[in-house]
Point group: C2
Chain length 349, copies 2
DNA sequence: GTCACCCGTGGGACCGCTCCCACGCGGCAT
DNA sequence: ATGCCGCGTGGGAGCGGTCCCACGGGTGAC
């Protein structure tokens, strides 16, 4: 390697950006005053403020986040943790919409969004340490499982945390969720209203609260209509297309005369459609079908799927605002917010 | 407000985390040595190293990022910029898969991923300043439009930048893209191989490079087969379902005898299917159809859509690695990487 | 035995900001 | 006039790291 090829002492092109000091010098005031202007303190005379503001945009000054964080012990950023195992979920509008809401809710507060995909278990396990090391001011978690203890550990470490959905009906942490049982109830009531009586359901994994809540809604609708719940009409899926198909097959085997199905997710409903078609049954003529999520597949299934919509973007926005509250004042405690769902009627029921 | 209700001097629960100094004291060495151990310098004796390592995990020490950034002028984080106007895109696997790849590629290097959704024009305009203010070490941009100048500004500001896709065939910046023309060519060759001869195409907006590249591939396949390209068989869409449907209608009007269509996206293909069905034409018997993207809708369209798959996750991973290279050594210049596509044959062609 | 060298090490200076203390000055009550 | 108050202000200290310089003690060459 010839001398000319040796790395230069400081090859970095970082033309040193102006500092607080530079602004202060140019405006003819002290650092303190500039800092006060930047942070919107009222204790600055109009004259100084004007001078500082002018200097700021003549210099194109932007505060150095690292320097600020170092002293304030805040980072003005929050992490959004997504267990990457849930890859199928991530492709659904579910994540994108919530992320959009979160981002919108955060942007107003000048907060940054750190996206953390936890690839595997070991990585996930390190997360508590990682996140609590003054890296973020708060954490948003999606797709938490019932037995996940990471949220609790974060809570112990005094890291403000808000979940999308709850782990159980005694969730101690702050969280935002859709009215899953209410949505399911309305879906089933819709089927009842169209005269269906032998209504089955394809549930999600029952160790997940969403799955249990949607099943509860199904039961509730039947009970309110004065119908007995036949356990033969309840088949467990796993939120995948294949699982939905298998559950549908099981339902048809157990109860060939069934005339409607409420699937706890659109993806499972799409599997159910395949099975119904394979069995020579028509949707909705022979078997009516309602899904949940109103995901992109709902519109493209043949026939287009009636489904329960969750206000995803609003959920994201609400998560952001709950988290900001917890960050601003640890005293607010852990709040839970439930947002209403909406039945979107298409052709499958 | 009674005294008891006054905010406490320091309500913050941040139990001061151990610092470098604490570790040094416990290990009985100087700060310099601890720093060297942490940064893997070889100039540390085995004995000191062991002592420091023990102290580190007894104390549960984690370095303070802000303090480090302040002096190194690096943030160890990169921004992923997604223009939020593209909401339809964001719900596609396109984004999720690329993000997953990016995240995987970054995690290995200990880099954080900052997700930046640019809601509107004004916000987007501020981004150059924002991103260049020593906030991130590099920027990844998705869905850049032909007339977007943000990448150029970032480049001028010496912010390493890598794009997903290129703005034109003279893209000066580093970027990663799929072999769009090659993929399109293979798709059309597949149609030719099944004996179709009157093959139309539904393009994307021709001010986008992907759209032009896919159209080029279409032309190339026909030319290679010795067929003339009939401009009547080219209809322009806009990557939406409705646009695809309108383009299909136009094609049928201009050329009722056509027996195959290559749509430059699955979503447009799904619109085309609706129009074909409405015209009483069967897929693939009357008109064969191939899409592009192999998105989630491809599998759920009736009939399941033959489509061109892009290696999305790999694209993300490649973007990350290009960016890391640019960050590590600005001298590498702007590299362009093209990744191969793959035809996924289903029932529509 | 002396000297030059190298290796591992400690610690000062500094990164750019916020926090807070002390100070000067004008206005108002005495 | 004299004192006091409070506002706006400047600037020192310090946040927790990295960088680098100087230094002590061993080692090998002469």
């Amino acid at each position: 390697m010839s001398p000319a090829e040796l790395p230069q002492p400081h090859r970095t092109a970082d033309v040193r950006r102006p500092t607080l000091n530079a602004v202060a010098a140019r405006a003819g005031v002290g650092r303190g005053t500039v800092s006060r202007v930047i942070n919107g303190s009222p204790k600055v005379s109009a004259r100084s403020r004007a001078a500082v503001e002018q200097a700021i945009d003549e210099l194109g000054y932007v505060p150095n986040r690292a320097a600020r964080s170092l002293v304030t012990r805040r980072t003005d950023s929050v992490a959004l943790v997504v267990p990457d195992a849930e890859n199928r979920l991530f492709s659904e509008p579910y994540f994108s919409e919530i992320i959009r809401g979160v981002s919108a809710g955060l942007a107003g507060a000048g907060m940054q969004l750190l996206l953390v995909l936890a690839r595997d278990e070991s990585e996930y396990a390190r997360l508590a340490t990682y996140l609590s090391a003054q890296r973020v001011d708060g954490v948003l978690m999606m797709a938490v499982h019932s037995d996940d203890t990471l949220p609790d550990r974060l809570d112990e470490l005094a890291v403000p945390t808000v979940l999308a959905g709850r782990r159980s009906d005694t969730e101690p942490l702050g969280h935002v969720r859709a009215d899953n049982s209410g949505g399911a109830r309305v879906a089933v009531e819709h089927l009842l209203a169209s005269g269906r009586r032998a209504i089955g359901t394809i549930t999600g994994p029952l160790d997940m609260d969403v799955a249990r809540a949607r099943l509860d809604g199904y039961r509730e609708a039947l009970e309110r209509a004065g119908l007995a719940v036949d356990e033969d009409l309840v088949a467990t899926g796993d939120f995948t297309e294949e699982g939905g198909r298998a559950a549908m097959r099981e339902l048809l085997r157990r109860h060939p005369g069934l005339d409607a199905v409420f699937a706890a997710s659109d993806v499972m409903a799409s599997g159910a459609v395949l099975e119904l078609r394979a069995s020579g049954l028509r949707v909705p003529q022979d078997v009516a079908l309602v899904g949940f999520d109103d995901s992109i597949v709902a519109r493209h299934i043949d026939p287009p799927l009636t489904s329960v919509r969750q206000p995803l973007e609003e959920m994201g926005r609400t998560m952001a605002s709950l988290l900001l509250d917890e960050i601003a004042d640890r005293g607010t405690g852990h709040r839970a917010v439930v947002l209403p769902t909406e039945l979107v009627v298409r052709e499958s029921a």
